[in-house]
Symmetry: C2
Subunit: 789 residues, 2 copies
């Protein structure tokens, strides 16, 4: 029996998840004028959901339409508690549980190994490609063939850039950008289509190598996080039928909870591999990436990053023998800031505070401009693959011009007499580029620009006695990198934000140190590090994880108090202007991210106020036709099940049943002619494994069902597949508290129960959609923050 209750008109058929996609697509199209995703998804497709319905009553076969995969899907982290799962759990032997746990750890090991190897391969490839390119350029320059050198340099950059863009445009558009916001959204419960697909992984790895080699102001760190998450997701798919890689045990991981845990490990492994910072990786996952955390996960993540650390160690030990071509020791960035002799003076601390405060302002401006640029680019990118590639090549040309021509402005500096390295340098990663200078002199700006990003950072971090930069050179470098960083993010290549921000921050810090050298004795290399820290704090707004990452990079814990201080200052200052850069990108992409805290105005509302649309409920024993109709006419993914007389004394809440589970039951055709319980038959035919969540777009679809006309009037016993313990809230529960409950438990559906007697046992269902500010403020436009109507 289908009971429409609540009713606010038939047009509002959107109480459920299915609508998220159309709603958010709508947002993107109207408000954001051509959102980020628009180039990725077919715009028209979204509009077909969820209201398309076509039922051919006259034929014996039912044509079912409307199950197009939704671009954005909510994930369900709830512990599902139905009879079949319980039964399975009870029959599980202890040895099986041990297998399961061992498999979990095995996966963590594999994620660590995979991410570690990819991280090493990435650095190895970048160092060799970029190194070869730079060798060629400096070789031509040393023969005074300056125009040829520029053409070779710019040509190589543009080719590499075009290749990266082509990969992104044609194979996996989802691989563009940092990837951290998408991973963050996934861990919050929002699955954007293809974001963790194998094709995305492929493009992310190779696109990142090409992009970084092309000399863009981009890093490999964000893409590494995404790569780690993709590797984890691939392992969590439960094998592959296509390649005959299946086993029963793998299928136990076919659920959102286990995948979430694995992807958290993957994200941590990514940071660990990118920065060689295992503890920083764990903290990054904890502070920035994950929305849910358990101490068991802390341990597993830690194990994964330890594996990454060991893989990298062994690889570097191997490369130390010189078998890795141009890959030196510095490919995985690790700097030595040898300024152990830090004294704390009042003027020094004042300088550091000022450094942090200015960096906070610069960081928030950076975020503001990145936001604008990404919105503009998404219009360009939306026009097709050719536009995407053109944009990338244009930026590559611009970057090449800046990098090649700006060093001509700089004055030549005499080589230091006490240096242990050859000056001017002769190899590709030299820190004293000769450029146009006479022998015995070097060009400080060329040493920064015509180098890999990692080497440029190492240069900036170097102590005063080893390396000196002109104030004008530092200023030119800072301004160029700051601007290039802003206009580079958003183009269709995998592009991390860490390196641009660290580069700009280090240049800023070193410049600041030079300007304020009269009032403080702190070394300029240290100032560069503090500048980098403060810029990171000002844009990304992380604290502990950044602090630990920087410490692991520089291997000097004595710097800790100062790094903490600038991070805190810059984050506080920047927070008073706008949000962190990842949160901004999340918003541009229209991903319905649930914040940890409820909005203040939600305290003035109760759950009843936001429940919308007619509620579709099922009886405990329901007619096949009713179920099919509900599945057909709505995009809902969960339906409350109500037991009614004669099966109970009065209507009572039995639980919640999921669309995917209903489809399993319908496919198995466990129907009966009379309204009776069918537990036994269901237990025999269906096992937990049938409930495994398939990879995106692979589950049973409505179209796959082949239900005959005579079966339409038969009954299905829903009890065994009903989650008997759905999370419920009373209709008068404060919306703020309900939102926190929803978010903390990673729910997809939350039942609203009445507070008084004589009404149906469920009065509505809340989904992620219902907590979104757009929805809430749409229903109650007069409720403004801090005001009571």
């Amino acid at each position: 029996m289908m009971t429409p209750t609540g009713g606010e008109g038939a047009e509002k058929m959107d109480a459920e998840d299915g609508v998220n996609c159309s709603d958010y697509e709508h947002d993107i199209e109207n408000e954001e004028s051509g959102g980020y995703w628009s180039g990725i998804y077919d715009r028209n497709m979204a509009h077909t959901m969820p209201l398309l319905m076509k039922r051919a009553n006259t034929t014996s076969q039912i044509a079912i339409v409307g199950a197009n995969p939704c671009p954005i899907e909510s994930l369900d982290y709830e512990i599902f508690d139905n009879e079949i799962l319980k039964n399975d759990w009870r029959s599980k032997k202890k040895v099986q549980i041990i297998h399961y746990v061992m498999l979990k750890w095995g996966f963590a090991l594999l994620i660590g190994l995979g991410t570690g190897l990819v991280g090493f391969f990435n650095s190895f490839a970048v160092e060799n490609i970029a190194g070869f390119k730079l060798l060629m350029t400096t070789g031509l320059m040393s023969k005074h063939r300056y125009l040829d050198a520029f053409l070779a340099y710019a040509g190589a950059n543009m080719c590499l850039a075009a290749a990266a863009a082509a990969l992104c445009a044609f194979i996996a558009p989802a691989a563009a950008g940092s990837g951290i916001p998408e991973v963050k959204a996934y861990l919050n419960g929002v699955d954007a289509q293809n974001i963790l697909a194998p094709s995305t992984l492929f493009v992310k790895i190779f696109g990142s190598i090409l992009g970084v080699s092309a000399g863009f102001v981009v890093g490999k760190e964000g893409p590494m996080v995404h790569t780690g998450a993709c590797i984890a997701s691939l392992l969590g798919q439960g094998g592959s039928h296509k390649y005959h890689l299946t086993c029963t045990w793998l299928r136990y991981f076919k659920n959102d909870r286990d995948r979430r845990d694995m992807i958290t490990c993957g994200a941590a492994a990514g940071v660990a591999a990118a920065f060689r910072a295992p503890v920083g990786g764990v903290l990054f996952a904890l502070e920035e990436a994950a929305s849910w955390w358990r101490s068991a996960l802390l341990w597993r993540t830690f194990f994964t990053t330890a594996v990454v650390a060991i893989v990298l160690r062994v690889a570097i030990q191997f490369c130390a023998t010189g078998k890795c071509g141009l890959f030196g020791e510095g490919g995985l960035i690790m700097y030595d800031v040898s300024s152990a002799n830090i004294t704390y003076s009042a003027s020094g601390i004042f300088a550091v505070l000022l450094l942090g405060a200015i960096a906070g302002i610069l960081g928030s401006i950076y975020n503001y401009l990145v936001d604008k640029v990404v919105r503009t680019y998404s219009i360009i990118n939306g026009k097709g693959a050719f536009s995407k590639i053109s944009l990338v090549v244009t930026i590559a040309l611009l970057t090449s011009c800046c990098y090649y021509f700006l060093p001509w402005i700089a004055k030549c500096i005499r080589c230091p007499s006490n240096s242990t390295v050859i000056c001017p340098s002769v190899d590709e990663s030299g820190d004293y580029k000769s450029f146009q200078c006479p022998p015995g002199y070097y060009n400080d700006l060329a040493s920064l620009f015509l180098n890999t990003n990692d080497d440029a950072i190492r240069n900036l971090f170097s102590p005063r006695i080893i390396k000196e930069f002109h104030i004008t050179s530092l200023f030119i470098y800072f301004a160029t990198i700051y601007c290039l960083g802003i206009i580079t993010y958003g183009i269709a290549i995998p592009s991390g934000l860490f390196i641009p921000v660290i580069l700009a921050g280090a240049a800023y810090g070193r410049l600041f140190g030079r300007l304020f050298e009269t009032i403080t004795e702190l070394d300029r290399g240290l100032f560069a590090l503090l500048g980098a820290a403060s810029f990171l704090g000002g844009t990304m707004r992380m604290t502990v994880s950044l602090c630990v990452i920087l410490l692991e990079l520089t291997n000097d814990l004595l710097l800790l108090p100062l790094v903490m201080l600038v991070l805190l200052v810059s984050k506080s200052v920047a927070d008073s202007f706008n949000k962190g850069v990842y949160d901004q990108i999340l918003k541009i992409k229209g991903l319905p991210y649930l914040e940890a805290h409820a909005e203040p105005y939600m305290r003035n509302l109760v759950t009843r106020d936001v429940v919308s649309g007619p509620l579709i409920t099922f009886s405990g024993i329901e007619k096949v036709a009713n179920i099919l109709q509900a599945l057909n006419t709505t995009g809902h993914n969960g339906f409350p099940v109500i037991d009614e007389p004669p099966f109970s004394d009065s209507p009572e809440l039995c639980g919640l049943v999921l669309r995917s589970h209903l489809l399993v039951l319908l496919k198995e055709k466990i129907f009966s002619r009379d309204r009776g319980f069918a537990n036994q038959r269901i237990f025999q035919r269906i096992s937990t494994l049938d409930f495994g969540k398939a990879g995106s777009g692979k589950g049973i679809k409505l179209e796959d069902l082949d239900i005959q006309e005579e079966e339409m009037d038969m009954y299905v016993d829903l009890h065994p597949i009903t989650n008997a313990s759905p999370y419920t809230v009373v209709e008068t529960m404060s919306l703020a508290k309900a939102a926190i409950l929803f978010r903390q438990h990673g729910l997809r559906h939350m039942c609203v129960v009445p507070k008084s007697q004589g009404r149906p046992p469920v009065v509505g269902i809340l989904t992620r959609h219902d907590f979104m500010p757009e929805h809430v403020l749409g229903l109650h436009p007069d409720i403004m923050p801090h005001k009571w109507k």
Copy 2:
């Protein structure tokens, strides 16, 4: 109207919190035969709760008995959502919110400053007292007055020990032990009486100094965590009326949520101060101490520990000028393990894995024995102050004998020729103790025993080229420290567990390194560090925080992969035998700690199965007499409020009202003769500040009320003080899921609502007590893990 529903007989009046104390006291007395707390609380007092009731109906004054403070009280971390609080929040201006936030950060600053200073003072005092003692002893020995030396040494130790024990026994018994389990319990929602009182703070600081100076195998780290928590709690008391230190703003912090956050900061600051490890402190709070965590808290904790780090830095910079007496640079432990040249060979990794595995076994045995010893000692300690002090002095004598006489066994070792320090040493903290050896020789065992614990650790961590130990010496030292560590914990002095475990672990690791030196090239100092890490992992079962603490102590991040590895191995091995040492102590102390995970058998139960006792509910507008009777006859702290006709169409759940809020309303006497709403009057008379939770034992008591006979028949409007959004679960909710919900939101009460019609809107209340294994298995003894009845 008072509605007894649910009813299972009048004797089971214990559905609520109030009973926790009597129930757990009961546990302690019968099962644990003289539990840990028994020496602290008056045993008889507990039995008066919660059933004592005396009502003098004939007099106009009502004598109220039975509100004795309960030794263990649940905390309420729920966001209380009643009309008065909402009204207050709505009227709050933005500037007030900014003040509130600034005050929060101000408190974090104060906690950091306070804990940092105490940490420094602690080290300063210990180094000076212990240094003076050792100087005296070695001075006498150098004159060959060996007996006098022993008498001086043992006498000083026993006096210091007796002083520490006397402080503990007479002033604050709650200050005994580590304090970490109690802080952990507090942050889980269990407030043990006096655990964060000012007297406890005082004894913790001075008792710890005396105890560590007395040469016990105890550390100052656990007590520092407790100290940090006490300082935070003191600041969170909302000022003091007694000393006229009050202000309106401070009173906004008078609630469990804000106090919890501050105490989390305090615990982190404690670790930061003890180990000079700010990041390790944050992670300790996250991994071990806190049960709830928010990213906002991460940031604030980080700030607190940064302040601690800066305070310590400045203090050490000050002491470097030689103004701190015998306090050297090493007072706050910080070791240098200079074995940067680590190579990874298969045999080396195998040795490290073996080291971890054996340490896991030794660690779990350590935990097992500590458990037994603490249970035995609690009987002795329960016999009064004299027994306590005697026990402490006995252990002090035993320790002194071991420390003084065991070095006589050791052979003299020739001083290294290449040493940069004087050998044998002449000052008190020398690493080459002459003891009975001839000039040019030193006694390796004396260098470990007759030194402060910090210096002994530094000795063990020193690289091979600097220092050598005999295998027998290492074995003797390891065995002695392992045994002394076990028999020392549980005596009535503040005693940390970190240092004993690190000492035993470092000796074990160095011994292991010597035994396996043929198969690995890793340095013995490094093995000592790995041994310490593995022992810590085997007893405390932390991972990330220990790893970071050890790295911050040794300042060498290159060791990271190996430290991670041994920690993981030793924790995994030890976890298969028993629980972490803090969890064991929590259990011995009978603190009702809620685990993050529900027990497996809870999946077979629903909430209805554990609800016990008759439910006491109030009407929305209730008679004074009924309220008083309910408060008198029960120990409940929360009562559901039900609106009934004529105020609603049918009985409906209005919310939950707290005992403390009822007392405020009764004290203000906002009564009326007729059953009508009184919102306006209540808003005028009562503000949020009246609801502030007073320090333990300071709130309004039933005895304070002065209700006249004629007022008994008047009515009170409970609506404005009722929490309209209590957390609810349906009666068929799985108990496992309800337990997770309860724990994740830090609740004190959870309402159980019926799943069907025609029954009262609330069928029971769940409290912490109802989720305890003792209670659940008591009601359902046939439900065993992994079995279904």
